[in-house]
Every structure is written in C-alpha cells, then in structure tokens.
C-alpha cells in the first residue's frame, strides 16, 4: 500500500506546489511509482510547474464525478519513469469534491502507487479538508516570515485535530546572508516556535524560478542548491538519515558562525 503525503502550509505562495513537484520527481528518480494530485481546484498550477499543462484531458473533478476512469485522467510524465500527475479542474471550485470522494480516490490509487503526493491549496477551508482527507503523513511548508510561520502553526494544530500526527517541517527560501545579519529567523528560531520535526531546509535559489520557467523540477539539476535540498528531503522521506544541507556556498570567514546560527551539519 502506498504512502499518502499531503504538502500544506496555510499561507499561499510559500512553495507548496514547487515542493510537491520536486519531492514527487525526486521519489520517481529514486525508482518509486509516484502520483501527484493537485487539489487546488479553480487555481491549478502543479501542471505548469511540472511542464505538463499541454497534456491535460481529464481532471480530478471528472474522476470523482465518474466522467472518466482514474487511469484516463492520469498524465504520465515521459521524462521520469513512474511519475504521474492528476491535475485539478480549472473551471470549478473547491466544493466540487468532498473529503469522502478524496478518500475513495486515494484508496484506489494506493494499490497502484508507492507514493501519493497531495498538493494542498492555501487556506483552511474545504480545499484543505479535501487535501488532508486521505493522507497518512503531512509536510508543512513555511518561509522564515512571521505570517508564514503563524499560518504554519495554525495548520499544525488543524492537522493534529484531524489525527494527522507528527507533521514534518520544511523551511523554504532561507537566505543565509540575512540570517547572518540577524534579519531573518534562523532554522532553530522557527523550530523553537513550531515545535515540530524538521525534514528539510531549502535555500532561496534563483534556479527555482528558472526551473519553473522551463517546467523542469530543480531536483534534477545538479548545480542547484535548492535542488540538492530537495534531493535530501526525498531521501529523508524514504527514511534515510541525511544531514541538513549546509547553506554556505563560499568559504567565507563567516563559516565559523554557522554553528551559532543553527546550521550545524547534524
């Protein structure tokens, strides 16, 4: 039976879709059979981030309404063996799907796939409830900003209330130069506040913009630091122990401050 992981954040624009694309692609590269589900009905984006927007025929709402079979709606990513996308509907809204329908759909997919990665919409309403309905693991994304951390905290509470225990945290768009100046909360600061386990730190990386422009996930880019961070997260999801990425890219005199700033390679 496959693992069902929901990628959520509360706040919009912190990198849920990018993370879903990269983790999914990373798991497929590791040899797993993976399906990505975009549950952001009305505001679908995982298709463009994945570069699969021209291949959509059916979508999530078509599947739950019985317009087509699940297999007909799954888009096979020809670049990565074992990677599939179930796109959201663009011209409907969140109420077109119920949590019960999501559970049924996921139960069907579970028999076929090793990993089902669910991209959750922003917010805590119907779309969130649909996205978490069938999940057995949750990853919460935040950035080192007060608004994103506050929303992440709310999401952690809601996940716990919905029996999704022990969610894991990804801190996205960390700028080590700002952390050093004391103008950005450090990894330790954020973990202090949220009190959940860290599963990855992703640096702010121009290459993410470039890879999104091209529709090619950065996890497959050897030169991208964010890509490396996503490769590490992928390994941790599979149960491997990998040290948190050292975000120092130069051998500056600042490197000795790393420990103080919480970037220990532990």
């Amino acid at each position: 039976m496959g693992e069902v992981i929901v990628i959520t954040s509360g706040k919009g624009g912190v990198g849920k879709t990018t993370t879903t694309a990269n983790i999914g692609t990373g798991l497929a590269l590791a040899g797993h059979k993976v399906v990505l589900i975009d549950t952001d009905i009305g505001l679908r984006n995982l298709d463009v981030v994945m570069g699969l927007e021209n291949r959509i025929v059916y979508d999530l709402v078509d599947v739950v309404e019985g317009v087509c079979r699940v297999k007909q709606a799954l888009i096979k990513d020809k670049r990565y063996e074992g990677l599939y996308l179930l796109p959201a509907a663009q011209t409907r809204d969140k109420t077109s799907v119920t949590p019960e329908q999501m559970i049924n759909l996921i139960n069907e997919l579970k028999t076929e796939f090793d990993y089902i990665i669910v991209d959750c919409p922003a917010g805590i309403e119907q779309g969130f409830k649909n996205a978490i309905a069938g999940a057995n693991r949750a990853i919460v994304i935040t950035t080192p900003e007060v608004s994103a951390v506050r929303d992440a905290d709310r999401i952690v509470g809601l996940l716990e209330a919905n029996e999704l225990r022990n969610p894991k945290l990804i801190i996205n768009r960390v700028r080590i130069d700002m952390v050093k100046r004391g103008d950005m909360m450090s990894i330790d600061d954020i973990i202090d506040i949220l009190a959940i386990d860290l599963i990855g730190v992703v640096p702010d990386d121009e290459k993410i913009v470039i890879s999104t422009n091209r529709g090619e996930p950065a996890v497959n880019d050897d030169k991208s630091l964010a890509g490396q961070a996503y490769r590490n997260i992928t390994k941790r999801i599979q149960g491997e122990e990998v040290p948190i990425l050292n975000l120092e890219t130069d051998d500056s005199i600042f490197s000795k401050f790393k420990k103080m700033l919480g970037f220990k390679t532990t």
């Binding site: 007060v146 506050r150 022990n166 004391g182 600061d189 959940i196």
Partner: protein, 94 residues
C-alpha cells in the same frame, strides 16, 4: 530612519529577534482556542485550591494554553502552563 540610526550604533535588537518575540506572543493567543471566560474559571479554581496551602500573589498569576512535545516526543500536545508566584507557604500541613 530612527530605527536605521539606532541600528548603526548597535542599540536596537536584530529584527529576527523582534519577529520571534512577536510570533511567540501572537501564537499564545492563536493556540488558546478556548474562551477567555473558560481560562478565568480554571484560574479561579486553581487559586482556591492552592490558597489552602500557600499564600500566592493573585495579581501576578499567569495561566495560558500553549503546546509542547509529548514525553514520547512523537506528537504535540496542548499544555496548560501556570506561573504562580508564592508569597509564603502556610504551616498548616505540618
């Protein structure tokens, strides 16, 4: 401008510390999704019980809902944290 100036002379604290403190405060309220009346009731009862044994500073008493890791460390549980300053301990118990 004022803030920038004080920063140059190293008097203001780093903005990330301001962020962290503000977050910690706002989250105390976010997390306590019980009504203030409920907390007041709990507070009143706690005071009553403790007053049997010791004299406490009622005005400085602070009680709030927060979250903490469970003993097994595998989940987050709500925690009721009370800070109760003691003025003196009564001898009645001896």
């Amino acid at each position: 401008m004022l803030i920038d100036f004080s920063k140059i002379f190293g008097r203001s604290k780093p903005s990330k510390d301001v962020a962290k403190e503000r977050l910690q405060l706002v989250l105390i309220h976010d997390r306590a999704n019980v009504s203030p009346e409920f907390l007041e009731m709990v507070k009143g009862e706690i005071i009553k019980v403790i007053q049997h044994y010791m004299e406490i500073d009622e005005n400085a008493l602070d009680i709030q809902l927060t979250r903490t890791k469970s003993d097994e460390g595998d989940r987050i549980v709500p925690a009721l944290v009370a800070n109760i300053p003691i003025k003196s301990v009564k001898n009645a118990g001896k």
